[in-house]
């Protein structure tokens, strides 16, 4: 019985985390229209990719201190449920769902798209809102692949909050090639500074790992690469790349990679 009570509290925390992380998206108009307009195959790919991502995230930052595969699968599924139900309830409350005449698919698309950031929030909440930070050994479990995975989740998460907006395209249109290169340089610089210079919790190992050059090769360069890939993937999912000239796609990717790089750099802080 005690275990159930403890789990219930963890679940309540998960709802709190999902709420904190996903409400900006739930209250963004583009998310609703994208939920209807996103090409269904791309939405399907996004949903199918989100489940293994949640599983991996549950391994590193579940809302229970678990290590066993079964528990992690259960946590990942529960997190998806939390994100989905929260998105459904809040969108219904905002009057976004159930508009007379709109098809069921349209509503489902909106909820499904918003469920994923909520689910990430639900898993992360275990750590963020938890009673006490996870012990040191849990943090250091991440090997190089694990680090890159966490950076990708951090990048996805931060990029997702702005990727659906029109502003990403608008900024890309407004920027010249020189500005794009400068923004790229700034992103790499900030990523490196966050990873190497600033002593965020959980980053002690990186600073011990070697000099700035080694950190650059080991974390900053792959981190920015991950940020670029995640940005391009999100733009493709939202149909922003269709029929657009390659250099414009590149600029959009660089623009979106700016928040993505910040997300990758602070992944350890967030997830």
């Amino acid at each position: 019985m005690d275990a159930n009570v403890a789990y219930g509290r963890a679940l309540a925390r998960a709802f709190g985390g999902a709420l904190l992380f996903s409400f900006p998206l739930l209250m963004t108009m583009e998310m609703w229209s994208l939920g209807m307009a996103v090409e269904r195959t791309r939405l399907l790919v996004f949903l199918l990719l989100s489940l293994p991502m949640l599983l991996g995230l549950s391994y590193y930052a579940g809302f229970e201190p678990t290590f066993r595969l079964k528990d992690e699968v259960l946590d990942a599924l529960a997190a998806f449920g939390v994100g989905f139900l929260l998105a459904a309830v809040l969108l219904a409350l905002f009057g976004v769902l159930g508009r007379r005449g709109l098809s069921f698919q349209a509503d489902l698309g909106k909820v499904a798209l918003c469920a994923v950031p909520g689910a990430i929030g639900a898993l992360v909440a275990g750590k963020q809102l938890g009673e006490g930070a996870p012990s040191a050994h849990e943090k250091q479990r991440a090997g190089t692949l694990g680090e890159i995975f966490l950076m990708a989740v951090g990048a996805l998460f931060l990029a997702f909050t702005v990727a659906p907006t029109e502003e990403m395209i608008l900024i890309a249109y407004q920027m010249g090639p020189l500005q794009a290169l400068l923004l790229m340089g700034l992103s790499v610089l900030l990523l490196h500074a966050f990873v190497y210079g600033l002593g965020f919790p959980g980053q002690s190992r990186r600073r011990q790992a070697g000099g700035p050059l080694r950190t650059f090769v080991g974390f900053t360069a792959p981190g920015y690469g991950v940020a670029l890939v995640v940005s391009l993937y999100l733009l493709w999912t939202f149909g922003r790349t269709d029929g657009v000239a390659p250099h414009e796609i590149a600029t959009m990717t660089i623009v979106l990679a700016f928040p993505a790089a910040l997300g990758a750099a602070t992944a350890r802080l967030v997830v």
Binding site: L74, A78, G81, L102, D242
Partner: protein
């Protein structure tokens, strides 16, 4: 590094007993949500038809107001893909000069309908009213 991790893992306390019942229930709910989302989206993605938007505009009601006759209309997209910025138009004839009113509907998903209004100076019920969609932009 790998051996250090292993020894730390081995040193951790013995695993807990079976997950509590609540954990199974919430995971089951999550599974149902995930399967529903993936199932419907997948069904739509793989089997749904991709015909272009076919938009019918239909008159719902006419209300005389001090500022003209408000004709409430609804636009129904019978096609298999969504349309954005749908321009709808009503042409009222039969009472002297033909009168045209138009409106733009932001977004009509596939097989959905969206309402709007056209405002005329003369009573649309008295004349001949032709409603149609003039054009749209591809969604997304």
């Amino acid at each position: 590094m790998a051996t250090a991790t292993k020894s730390r893992r081995a040193a951790k306390p013995s695993p807990r007993s079976e997950p509590p019942l609540l954990e199974w229930i919430s995971a089951a709910i999550g599974l149902v949500c995930a399967l529903a989302a993936i199932g419907f989206v997948g069904w739509d993605a793989l089997l749904g038809e991709r015909s272009p938007p076919a938009i019918e505009v239909r008159l719902v009601a006419v209300t005389p107001t001090p500022h003209g006759y408000v004709a409430q209309v609804e636009a129904i997209n019978h096609g298999g893909s969504s349309a954005a910025q749908v321009a709808i138009e009503g042409v009222l004839s039969g009472q002297g000069e033909a009168e045209t009113a138009q409106a733009t509907l932001d977004y009509i998903p596939q097989r959905s309908r969206v309402g709007g209004g056209l405002v005329f100076e003369h009573d649309p019920r008295a004349g001949r009213l032709v409603l149609r969609a003039r054009g749209f932009a591809d969604a997304s």
